[in-house]
Structure formats: C-alpha cells, structure tokens
Subunit: 231 residues, 2 copies
Amino acid sequence: MRIGEKPEIARLPLFREMAEKQRDLVLAGSYLQVFPPQLTLFEAGQDADFLHVLVDGLVELFVQGAGRDTTMRIVEPISSYILAAAVTDMPYLMSARTLASSRILLVPAAQLREAIREDSALMHAAMHELALGYRDLVRALADMKVRQSAERLGNCLLEYSNRRGNRDQFELIGEKRLLASLLGMTPENLSRAFGTLKNHGVALDGSQVTIENRERLRLFARPDPVPGDSR
Amino acid sequence: MRIGEKPEIARLPLFREMAEKQRDLVLAGSYLQVFPPQLTLFEAGQDADFLHVLVDGLVELFVQGAGRDTTMRIVEPISSYILAAAVTDMPYLMSARTLASSRILLVPAAQLREAIREDSALMHAAMHELALGYRDLVRALADMKVRQSAERLGNCLLEYSNRRGNRDQFELIGEKRLLASLLGMTPENLSRAFGTLKNHGVALDGSQVTIENRERLRLFARPDPVPGDSR
DNA sequence: GCCACTCCTTGATAAACATCAAGTCGAGCG
DNA sequence: CGCTCGACTTGATGTTTATCAAGGAGTGGC
C-alpha cells in the first residue's frame, strides 16, 4: 500500500492503540485497491478472506433475502467493515458493493486474526468496535419494530445532523432510494415520509435537508432517550 | 456464590478459556441472586454496573420505545447477557425483566473489564461472543426488513427446531404474546400466522409445535442461505 | 363445582405500507 | 437546443398489519 495512506488508517479506532510494529506488519500484508462504482466486492455466503477498510469512496452493505435487497449500512470513509465475519472466520452475512469509485484496503483476515492474538490492544479495539456495532444494531432493530416510516426518517435525520455537529442543514449521501432501503421502506414512501415531515420542522430541496424546527421534529420522531455512540 | 454453580458457569464460552485464577477472582466478586417472576432487573439508560449470567429461570430483554415495548431477546439458562454494555461501560440500551423465578449471577462490570484487560483469553472470548451477537442481530434486522410476519414465524420455528437437534416437535418457551413481540407483531397476528403455516407443514396444539413437513415449510419461509451460528 | 381471571383466538374495521401507473424534473449528450 | 434517460414524485389501488371487539378455553381460588 502507498505510504501516504498510513497516517489516516493508523488513526482509526481499530488500529490506533496497537503496537506500531504489529500495525506495520498487518498493513504490509494488505492491499490497497481501487474499485469502480457499482462493483460487487463480495457476496453473502463467501468466506471472509479480508477485512475491508474504506479509504475513499462509498460502499453499501446489503443482504438479498426473500426476493428483494435491503441495505444494512452505508459505509463512509474512513472506516472498516465486516469485522465480525473477519474475526470469527465465518462466511460473510452481507454482500458489499461500491456506490462510487472507491479505494479500499484489503486486510487478510487470517493475518488480522493472528495480529489480534498477538496484540492485546488490537484485540481490545476489535472488541470495542464490535460492541459499538452491536449497540447500533440493537437500536436499528428496535427502531424497525416500534416506529413507523416517517418517524424512522425523522430519527435518521436527527442522527445525521448529530453526526455533523448538530448542523441544521446537510446533504443526504447517495441516492434517495438508497436511504429508503436503509430505512426499510420503498422510495415512494420515503417521498411521502418527507412530505409528512414538512409539517414537523423539516424542509427538503433536492438532497439538501434543512431542520427548521428541531424541537418540533424531536417531538414527532421521539428519538431514543439513550443517546447514540456518535463515533 | 455457591460452589455448586461454578462448573456450569465455568463451562460458558465466555469464561471457558480464561485462566482459572482470574475466573475464580471474578466469580468471587460476583453475587448469585434469586429474583421473583415479573421483576424488572434494570432499565435502559441505567449505568451498566453488572454483567448478568442467567443460571436458572427465564429473562426477557426489551426496549420501550414510541409508546410500546418490544422484546429483543429471550434469555434461557445458562447464558450471559448485556455484554456489550458491560465491556463498553455505557448505559444499558435494553431493559430486562424476569419471566420466571430466576437465579442470576451478577458480575460487577468494572471487575469484568479489569479481568478482560488482564486475561487475553477472556478478552478473546468476549470479542467472539460480541461478534456472534452482532451476526445474530444482522440476521434479525434483515429478517424484519424483508420478510412478512408468517415467513418470520416460519423461520423462527425452523431455528428453534434447529437449536434442539432438528426435532420435529417442541414446546414454545414462554407465552405466545412474548413470541409475538419478539417477532415484531401483535398477538392477534401471531395467531393468524400460525393459521397460514397450517397450510405449509406446521401444526400447533397449545404451545406444542409440530413440523409435519419441513420441506414445505422451508419452501414457504425461505430461510437464510447462510446458516446460523447455532450456539 | 363455580366464578373470575388471563390468555388466546376469531372476526370486523382501520391504518400503514407496497405496488402500479403516470407524470415531473434535471443531467448528459448528440 | 432538443432528446433521452434515470431518479424522484404523486396519485390510485391492493396487500399487509394493527386495532377494536367479542367469544372460547384453561387455570386458580373459594
């Protein structure tokens, strides 16, 4: 891999605390590759040969079940994904595809597992990352079970805003149908959900979202009382 | 804690591989307590002071969001729960209540975290446990998003059967409304879902489920192609 | 044995959501 | 500039699910 990428990758929560020697060893065995948009990186059921680190671009994790696809996560740089499959040496549960031209670091899973055994700080970071991911999923599943679509969208927008320092205006990432799939609804219903949120303090112009009245939105969306991890 | 419990607890995946001395230390600092049925053990938002290990009885993990409750997991003995909150030192995301009179081992979370730092095998086990839990949740979330209620029930029954050595007949644990909440539907719709499954190889008598035609059920429920972890 | 209670089931109705079918808008291209 | 194309929106309709209401079946208490 190019030396220029190393500082950013070394700063990732997953790799930050580990011994530098171990990190260099792991990264030396990894490949930094560029993939075109709309390329399937791997499919559910395949052996998890690599941990992925998205350095640049955009990646979608999805599962194809019961006829249709549903997106499970939108990965933005810089972050790793499919850690759970990599550390357990089990097949991928999700498939992945690039949404934009992407630079991805491929860390051989076997080598990662060995480094985890050797380096206690790395193992601790992996454990922590998995625990945070677990909590995200608990939240997402509960959301899916108890809230209806417009509420889910409202919470999602509040969370997006939160991630960007509570800005009141921001751009949606990717196409709207992607967001619809992430939220477990059809693109048609996403449109309608934005329609209902108009009456609750949210304005939409293209992919530009403006939270005009945060209190009103919170009242409608009833966000989780336990705050998120906001990584 | 009573010495009689130790062998079973020591055999748990989470504690199995760690150094015996460390394990004794951790267990010595833990409390084994008996709780009556229908008692709230903790609520979402509280600090995660303890890792719980259900030794005997039945526990429900649930979240109360947007007016109604939804059960996230039914814990059967012997297994630990809320590991993610305990290792990250973050507030509980879920609440817990006993469904039956239960014996529960309360492991102080601070002590657990210290043991994890000291004992690499324990840390590895915790990481593994979290990764498996993560994968379970990925599956559950995808299930919730792409399948409709009768299909979800079908898959759930196939999984229950799977956990009991692919027996064709088994008892449902707990009340049906609990299962309904776990599957994200109302008790009324669970009844109707069992009704539809009658035409797809499933018979129900009280809480006794019989899979009369597994192939037919699989055809209807379209189970996940990637098999579960079947712990 | 009878009553009260809870759980479960069944049916009728309403709400939420998906699907189908146009139609609008804007980007890219000849 | 006009064309095509795809993404998005909007409306009409159908399916799925929740809600409301009532009735049955089993259990425990008296």
